[in-house]
Structure formats: C-alpha cells, structure tokens
C-alpha cells in the first residue's frame, strides 16, 4: 500500500508543479511559439521560391544557368545549416551585407532548405510522363506555356509527399536560429531552463509544442493540399 501512496504523492507533486510551471511560464512559451511560427512561414516561402527557381534552372540546357543552380544546390546541401547561419551572421557583414538576426534566421533556413527542395522540384518535373511533353509539343505550345500549363501542375502533385517531409525538416531547422539569439521557442526554453532549472519541464514542453505543430498543423495541411491537387487532377 505504502509504495502506491508514495507514487501517488510523487505524481501529484510533479503534476501540480507542472501546472504551476505552465501558468507561470506560459506567456514566454507562447511568445516563442509565435516567433517560431513566423520564422517557419517566412523560411517556407523563401525555400519554395529558391527551390522552384533552382530546380527549373537545373533543367536548363544552358550551361551557365545549369551551373549556377548546381553550385547553389551543392554548397547549401553540402555544408551544415549551422555553419551557414553563423557565416551569414558573422562573416557577411565583413563584405558589407549586415542583416539583423531576425532576417538572418529565415534567410539561412530558407536558402538551405530551398537547395533540398530544388532537387524535389527537379525530380517532380522529370517524373511527368514523356507523353505529356510530346502532346504539348504536338499542339505547338511554346516551352514556357508548356511548362506552366501542362508540366508544372502535374509535377506539383508528384512533389507534394516529399515536400511534406521537407516542411517538417524546415520546422526543426528554425530551432537553430535561437543560437544567434532570435527569441523563438527554443530560445525561450533555454532561458526558462536557465532561470528555473526545471530542465525536463522547460525542454519537455518545448518538445511537445514542436511535436504538436508538426503533427497537428503542418502534416494535416500538406495532406489537405495533396487532396486538393488530386481533386483538380480529377483523381479524387
């Protein structure tokens, strides 16, 4: 009987103190989450733009264009995001380009994940059946119209599942901006840990919030997008 009572009391203690902890630190977690969400959306937009541009450039037959895209992709995929973040923040000012840390954050994350996305764009476009290119060619469509009206819509549907994974990676990558003192969720968690020493609660809560964001916001949204695209292709 004794051990059960002890366990119950222990659980009660932790439970009570966790609720207290949440009510006390809640606002800071919320501030951090809002900053993380902001960094996420801005990075995502930049990543998508970079991915589309670089992916299309890599398919060009012009060697200069293809080469530029290749260099961008290999550099940003071949080095660590943390290195890129520090480089943009500490080294770029020496070349005259100083970005405030808020901008540095999502620019680094966007450029890095855009490089991975470029390969997904390229793969998506190349997975469109060759017959579609030929049919568009047979009705004399210009290359630009053909890409925009026929190939890209079909490539988009093929690309969405791996893009879903990429979006989760993007969310996780935003946590690194805390290391250049951007006040996101990760940063707040470290601050709270520093002031309360309740590491499990501080970091644990942050982990849970990231998890909720990933599983209950990002993934369902990407699945919804997939369904919408499938319906547009008449495949619902």
């Amino acid at each position: 009987m004794q051990p059960i009572l002890q366990l119950y009391e222990y659980w009660n203690d932790i439970h009570m103190s966790y609720l207290d902890f949440l009510s006390e630190q809640g606002p800071r977690f919320i501030d951090g989450t809002i900053m993380t969400a902001t960094q996420f959306f801005l990075s995502a937009i930049l990543a998508i733009m970079c991915a589309l541009t670089a992916g299309l450039m890599k398919l060009s037959s012009n060697r200069m264009i293809k080469g530029t895209a290749l260099v961008y992709i290999e550099i940003f995929r071949g080095t660590s995001l943390l290195v890129q973040l520090y480089w943009i923040f500490f080294v770029l000012p020496l070349f005259g380009l100083t970005l405030d840390k808020f901008y540095t954050g999502f620019v680094a994350v966007g450029l890095n994940l855009g490089a991975y996305g470029a390969e997904l764009v390229r793969g998506g476009i190349q997975s469109v059946p060759k017959g579609q290119w030929e049919a568009a060619y047979a009705i004399s469509m210009s290359p630009a119209k053909r890409m925009y009206r026929i190939i890209l819509p079909q490539a988009l549907l093929n690309m969405l599942p791996p893009w879903g994974n990429l979006m989760i990676e993007l969310l996780k990558a935003t946590a690194l901006v805390s290391l250049i003192s951007v006040t996101d969720l990760m940063f707040e968690a470290k601050q709270i840990n520093g002031s309360t020493f309740l590491s499990a609660q501080a970091f644990g809560t942050a982990l849970i919030i990231y998890y909720i964001f990933a599983r209950l916001v990002v993934t369902p949204f990407m699945r919804w997008l997939e369904r919408v695209m499938a319906r547009k292709m008449g495949r619902a």
């Binding site: 009705i139 004399s140 008449g234 495949r235």
Partner: protein, 271 residues
C-alpha cells in the same frame, strides 16, 4: 556534311505534294533507322504505313511531327521546307522558332493518348486554340464542342481523362488534335493500346474523318483490315526503306516482294 544546295528552297510546279520526304536519313548513334527515304503524300491522301517493329515506320511520323531531329535530307510540308529554313538561298537546319511555326499545321494522335490529366475533355480541346492560336475562349469552346460532338463525346465533355475509357480518351485526343485545324493528321498506332471491343469506336471516327474531310493523313497501324478499307495507298517498310507500296487492293491482295508476303502472312496467322 551534306551539300544542301541540291535541295530546292521551295517546291513549285503543278503537283506539289502536301508532304515530301526527300533523301531523308535518321540515325540513332550507329544504327540507321531511315535510309535516304523518298516519300510523297498528296493533298487529301490517306497513307497507311505498315511493317515489322524496328522498320522505321513510327520514326517517319515522329520526324514529320519534328519530335525527332533529321540527320540527312529535307522534309517539305505544303511546298515549304519543314526541317530546314532558307538562309541566303540555301537550306540550313531550322531553329526552334521556325519549327514551332512550321509544325503548327501538323496534328498528331499518340498510342497512349497523352491527354492532359488535370483538364477536362473540353479543356483539353480548348487548350491549343486558346494558348497557341490565341483564339478567344468563346470561339475555342464552340469549335471544341463541335469536334467533341463529331467524335461522339459530347456527354463526357466535362469529365477528366481518368474517368474515361481508353477508346473515349483516344476520341478526345483526336478532337484535340483537330481543334488546331491542321493540314496533316498523323495517327501513331492509335488503337494498339485499346481493348479489342473499343477499337471500333476509334476506327469509326477515323473513317468519318476520311469520308467527310479532305485532310491529308498518315497512319501507322496493325489493323490490316481497317487499313485496307480506308487507305488510298499503303507503304510497307522494312529496315528503314520502303520495300513496297501501292493501292491497298494490290499490296494486300497481290504483294510482289517476298518480305511483304512474309510479313502479311505472319500478321494473318496472328489474327
């Protein structure tokens, strides 16, 4: 390098063919698929091309559609060069812009239909006229609906290709090609991917086209009976060359060359 001065920059005279292959050669690496081919198709003529696989028959169509590049000779369309353009009185290989303009008078239907899956049947037909010919949407819609009714697909015009059977998709594909008002129509094994019971739908549409329109047509097919019925001329290809050609009754009924006889008896045995 071939001496291009032997080729006229324009065909003139009383009987200019709609399509002329002049000394056309096509190579894939070391393999020669078409060898100094000469082929004329007159306006309004329906020519069927038959032959074993690898004989080059599909290549003929694809080269006319400029889906493949040419390695020797010139192809003329309606008197003007298709694969080449004139520069300082001599023919040089055509650039992309010239090709796009020149091939707009040719339409093609493919073995695997290649309808645009993200558009309805009607939208598929309207796409060319609106985006390439610059027609206003209302006019394109009218033209497309007319063509869809001709191929018997009016009630399915708002369906996506995934909801249509193979025969229905191919009929929409024919309407889509016709919407561009081509001078020449190419049919590349359009019934080979269809279940036997729907082949009739598609051959019926092609029969109608032959009967009611004066389109120049080239067809590659394995349907010998159908070819015999509607063709003006049949060409038997072997190893990149025309082995024998002539009116369907004489080629099918009384083939002269040994290879033609072998091919026709093999096809008959498989039927």
């Amino acid at each position: 390098m071939e001496d291009m001065s032997q080729y006229p920059t324009e065909l003139s005279g009383p009987d200019v063919p709609m399509v002329r292959f002049m000394n056309v050669t096509k190579r894939y690496g070391a393999l020669t698929v078409l060898d100094s081919l000469h082929l004329d198709v007159s306006e309004g003529e329906m020519v069927t091309v038959i032959g074993p696989s690898g004989s080059g028959k599909t290549t003929v169509l694809r080269m006319l559609m400029t889906l493949e590049t040419i390695n020797g000779g010139v192809i003329y369309l309606d008197g003007k060069p298709l694969t080449h353009m004139e520069k300082n009185g001599v023919l040089v290989p055509a650039d992309a812009k010239y090709l796009r303009r020149a091939r707009s008078s040719i339409g093609m239907c493919f073995q695997h239909f290649n309808l645009f899956p993200h558009m309805t049947a009607l939208q598929n037909c309207m796409e060319g006229p609106v985006q390439v010919l610059g027609l206003p949407k209302a006019e394109a819609r009218e033209r497309s609906e007319e063509l869809l009714s001709m191929v018997g697909m009016t009630d399915k015009k708002d369906q996506h290709p995934s909801r249509l059977s193979g025969g229905q998709q191919q009929r929409v594909a024919i309407a889509r090609a016709l919407a561009m008002r081509p001078k020449v129509m190419l049919f590349d094994e359009v019934t080979s991917a269809l279940d036997p019971e729907v082949i009739g739908e598609v051959t019926g549409v092609i029969r109608k086209l032959v009967a009611e329109h004066n389109l120049t047509m080239l067809m590659v097919t394995h349907q010998m009976g159908f070819a015999r019925d509607i063709s003006d001329r049949v060409c038997f290809f072997f190893d990149g060359k025309i082995e024998e050609q002539g009116a369907p009754e004489s080629l099918f009924g009384n083939p002269q060359c040994e290879r033609t006889q072998q091919f026709l008896s093999a096809v008959k045995a498989a039927d």
